[in-house]
């Protein structure tokens, strides 16, 4: 709670304004009813001149107008504060999450992340409007009621304040405690429901094709039953507390009468004060009615906050350092005996990898999927921390540098690139906002992404669907290549860049990239053994270890694993080629 209150600090002025206006609005209502009662009671006594009633008449009008105005100010100020808090909360959450990506976020699915961030942050934004403000205003108006009622009798004051306390704090408090467990379960169920709904909408094609759609809706139906059951319980609880509040609200008016009537009969207070007392008692309850809601929000808020805290307090996998790295320079990248496992207890994905990538060299890492090829990229991008071995950039340990500087040394084509819900142009230019027209055209051409753009009616201004649904796998891949080319850093790292591309395009694109990176470093990670002939070195990984290394020619000659892989991949083609050539020659002959 204290941490939450810190979110209010920058807006002290607005907060004060909102609370003050809220209190004055309540006070004006009490004033309106009390003066009205006083006015007609005095009038009923037939005073000699109307002038005697002048003060209450003006008072009634004043309170009537000021109440509406104060209420308006209070609403504007409190909502403005709320939205300011929302903006700060979103940024707060994102700022904390950003360093956790991607390593820490893999375990959480986006549906959950979304429900935590969007709905929890939405819940938290109301903590001032619906919790802090009502409580403070209740306390202030209870004090006011006590002062007014105390004028007539101490007991009246005590009755009023204690019933306000009962109605504002005790009853909703008990209701809150009773409903708490249900509330927690409810929030949990709802987030499960949300996550399942997201699976349903995003994986609908599979669910339908496998005949599991019904199954999933049945699961949703079961969850819904649980939700309904809890919600019914909560609403019954709320109904009881509302009933009790009405009882206290009007009951205290009744008690005030019982206390005041003997005092009037005794002559201790004048008779014309009796309507004032009854009306004050009724009017002062205005604030108490918003408190049950405040408690509900308190519960939600504390829960949402603890969830957000758990999320944002996870320790990043990578320790941030701040050694600056000169940008735009040729870099020398070296790896010595690097070992890595994703989690303790899991097998090592890399078991002693050495790599030397001086500026301008072209190196390929090949091997079947799952041998740890992509892990190299994860380590170089500082998404994960290596523990054994050493990775050096220009002679200094990679983890001594500021991670964001390190990433800027690389132009990366990642696997399964994310296509943002934005125009194609924005999606590409993401990599480099200041790219020149020439760079832009060049990148599109080499990546063959221009073919994608020219197919769209709106060209590069076409919106790529939310999850890039309108781009096929190969098109998304070409987008990723265009991005990397545009970012144009000294070291290019391509992770399976030709995935999803047909043979013609794959070949053309790969040649283009190799040409483009002639005066840059290139690290090509692939399982498809094409375009490797011009590589300075090829490293063959097998089960996390380097099986062999050398140029294409050397490896083919040595007849090791590379040759086996290569032949397995190409045998059938070669047979075909020979046949095709034969056919051709025979046709020619």
């Amino acid at each position: 709670m204290r941490i939450l209150l810190r979110f209010l600090r920058p807006f002290t002025w607005l907060v004060t304004l909102s609370i003050a206006a809220g209190f004055f609005a309540v006070a004006a209502n009490i004033g309106l009813m009390a003066t009205s009662g006083y006015l007609i009671a005095k009038a009923a006594l037939h005073p000699e001149t109307v002038l005697l009633l002048w003060v209450p008449i003006v008072g009634v009008r004043f309170f009537g107008i000021s109440r509406a105005v104060f209420r308006y100010i209070e609403r504007l100020a409190s909502h403005d504060v709320t939205f300011r808090i929302l903006a700060r909360l979103r940024v707060f959450a994102y700022e904390r999450l950003e360093p956790l990506a991607p390593a820490r976020l893999i375990a959480m699915r986006t549906g959950d992340l979304l429900s935590t961030l969007v709905s929890d942050v939405d819940t938290l934004q109301h903590f001032f409007l619906r919790i802090v403000s009502p409580f403070v205003v209740l306390i202030l108006s209870a004090a006011l009621s006590f002062i007014i009622a105390g004028q007539f009798s101490l007991w009246l004051g005590v009755a009023l304040v204690s019933s306000l306390f009962l109605a504002g704090v005790v009853v909703p408090g008990i209701a809150f405690l009773l409903g708490r467990t249900s509330g927690e379960v409810l929030v949990n169920l709802r987030s499960q429901y949300y996550a399942l709904t997201l699976d349903l909408t995003q994986g609908m094609a599979e669910l339908l094709a496998f005949g599991q759609y019904e199954q999933t809706t049945t699961k949703l139906r079961e969850l819904q039953q649980g939700i309904s059951q809890r919600q019914r319980f909560m609403s019954r609880l709320q109904a009881v507390s509302t009933g009790v509040l009405v009882l206290i609200n009007h009951g205290v008016m009744w008690i005030s009468l019982v206390i005041a009537i003997p005092l009037v009969a005794n002559g201790k207070i004048p008779g014309y004060d009796l309507p004032v007392i009854a009306l004050t008692a009724l009017a002062s309850f205005e604030t108490a009615t918003s408190l049950p809601q405040a408690y509900q929000y308190l519960g939600h808020t504390l829960q949402a906050f603890s969830r957000i805290r758990a999320l944002v307090e996870a320790k990043p996998v990578v320790h941030e350092q701040d050694l600056a790295l000169q940008q735009g320079q040729p870099h020398h990248l070296q790896m010595y005996n690097v070992h890595f496992r994703y989690e303790s207890g899991q097998p090592e994905v890399l078991q002693g990898l050495d790599l030397d990538l001086p500026f301008g060299r072209h190196v390929a890492i090949v091997g079947e999927s799952g041998v740890g090829k992509s892990t190299v990229l994860q380590l170089l991008l500082r998404f994960f921390e290596y523990e054994i071995g050493s990775i050096q950039l220009d002679g200094k340990e990679l983890h001594a540098y500021d991670a964001s500087h390190v990433r800027l040394c690389f132009s990366v084509v990642e696997q399964a690139p994310h296509v943002f819900h934005a125009t194609l142009e924005d999606n590409v230019r993401l990599a480099n906002r200041y790219a020149t027209e020439e760079q832009w055209r060049n990148a599109l051409h080499i990546s063959a992404f221009d073919e994608v753009g020219s197919q769209m009616i709106e060209g590069y201004q076409t919106l790529a669907g939310e999850w890039g649904a309108r781009l096929s796998g190969g098109e998304a891949e070409r987008l990723a290549i265009a991005r990397a080319l545009l970012s144009d850093a000294p070291i290019f790292i391509l992770d399976e860049p030709t995935h999803g591309l047909d043979a013609i395009t794959a070949e053309r694109v790969l040649t283009g990239i190799e040409e483009f990176t002639r005066d840059r470093s290139l690290l090509l990670i692939t399982h498809r053994l094409i375009g490797l002939e011009s590589m300075d070195e090829i490293i063959v990984l097998h089960e996390g270890k380097v099986a062999e290394r050398g140029t294409h020619g050397e490896l083919m000659k040595s007849g090791g694993r590379y040759r086996t892989l290569f032949e397995r991949q190409h045998m059938e083609q070669r047979v075909d080629e020979i046949q095709t050539v034969k056919t051709f020659t025979s046709e020619l002959a």
């Binding site: 909502h79 979103r90 986006t110 496998f210 909560m234 097998p347 002939e533």
Partner: protein, 580 residues
Amino acid sequence: MMDRKLFIHVKSARTLLIFTVSIGLAGGFLAVVQARYLAEIVTQVFLRHVPLSGVSTALGLLLLVVVLRAIAAFGSEAAAGQVAAKVKSDVRERVLQHLAILGPTYIKREKGGEIALTIVDGVEALEPYLARYLPQVALSAFVPLTILAFVFWNDPLSGVILAVTAPLIPFFMILIGKGAQAVSDRQWKTLSLLSAHFVDVLQGLKTLKIFGRSRDQIEVIARISNDYRVATMSSLRIAFLSALVLELLTTLSTAIVAVTIGLRLIAGDLSFSHAFFVLILAPEFYLPIRLLGTQYHVGRDGVTAAKRIIEILEMAPPLSEHKQTTLRKPNVLGRMAFDRVGYTYAGIGPATLHDVTFVAEPRQMLAIVGASGAGKTTLADLLLGFIQPTEGRILIDGTHLQDVPLGWWREQIAWMPQRPHLFFGTIADNLKLAKPHCSDGEMIAAARKAGADEFIRSFSEGYQTFVGENGGRLSGGQLQRIALARAFLKDSEILLLDEPTSQLDAETEWIVQGALRQFRQNRTVIVIAHRIHTIERADQILVMQEGTVTQMGKHRDLMREPGRYRELVLAYSKSSGEGA
């Protein structure tokens, strides 16, 4: 308009409304009775100097009325809660059913996240709308009328004041409310966009980091949130203005009633008892209308949500609904024929497919090749019945596909999509999706055929390893193998694979090819592919180009004629065979 539609779609909503309104009315009536006794008691004590004992009966009755009011408040709230829960579950049920009819192509175009948000939060927003706002609309008409009748009875002049000011309130509300609604609609849209943006950014966090743009998003999020605040505040200024006007009207007319009553009391034209009665009732008169004001924008959120829900419910299925006129199951192992099939995505330019004609013979392997975007995946969507041809027809053993029971038909196809979705759960959960009650042995056998068993076992938790959305840490090839294993596990008569080996390494592809060879012995296999290995042994190859079939035949024959196929194969052989 919107309400009536909602009531048509959801019957339970009507019950909810009737219940809460009638109990609310009873509460209004009790307020009048309470005012009567209160005025009576105060008058007796104040002007007639009656002691406590003299008013004890009236006090007793007053207490009874107070208790009854509390019970009414309880009753209306309790009833509303019970029925609201039913309404919400009914609405969700309807939406989910309808989404199944709309199919995956609809969701792909709309936003999956936005629809999920509507189902969860949008439906939740119906509760305040149906349980509070709508009843309040009815009560704000009935309760003031009841009170007005009693005020007239006691003091016609005050009655006139109330009667004159009351119509002003709805008038102002309609006037201001219209503007507020437009703004509120926009607000709901912004909110959806805002959360969609959030998911997008979070999902792309890795990409953003790679390009050094992730920190920029802090500013973007702050800016978007701030824009949202400014936009929302401008809508709220209007919404609250209506509240201000309402409040001014009610408090000022209470003040006017008090002053006029006071003046007439001096003149002796009015008895105190009647005057006090009217004064107590004046705020009660406006209370329902004021509550309506405070719930106005809550209600409007509900209206907007209801509108979106009805929009989904009334969304026509992509094309003609699946007719399912026949009860006869066609022979799955009959011929599958595309007869001049064409397909155009509504509103998105040129036809994706046109004039596609071919016959797939049973127990044969049909390969479909072509550059990305040639329409291969659309062909798969058509076959799965996710979309229906806009031209031509698809015949299964002579029966129109649209007449075949869709659920049964899909059971006959084991499909591996191009971009498989992995569901939140374990790898085993994801595999067993294809065959929920299969044994672990069957599952493992399928995984082995797809070359997935080995890497799954390398995880410390094996088949019980949790996979997040989009596969989490799984590589593209691993994801593909799981999807392939899923299709193998289903073991249907027809195997439909969309680029099954695009991310597989040579060794795994070897394994998969072996499995495929086995399958085609007694299954019909349709495979969309780039890879030559997969294609060349096919009994028939379709070459697709710009949405239509340009070449058809066996590998050997196609290689002999000049054309797209030879270009594709030669390019592939050249790029991979050089230097060997």
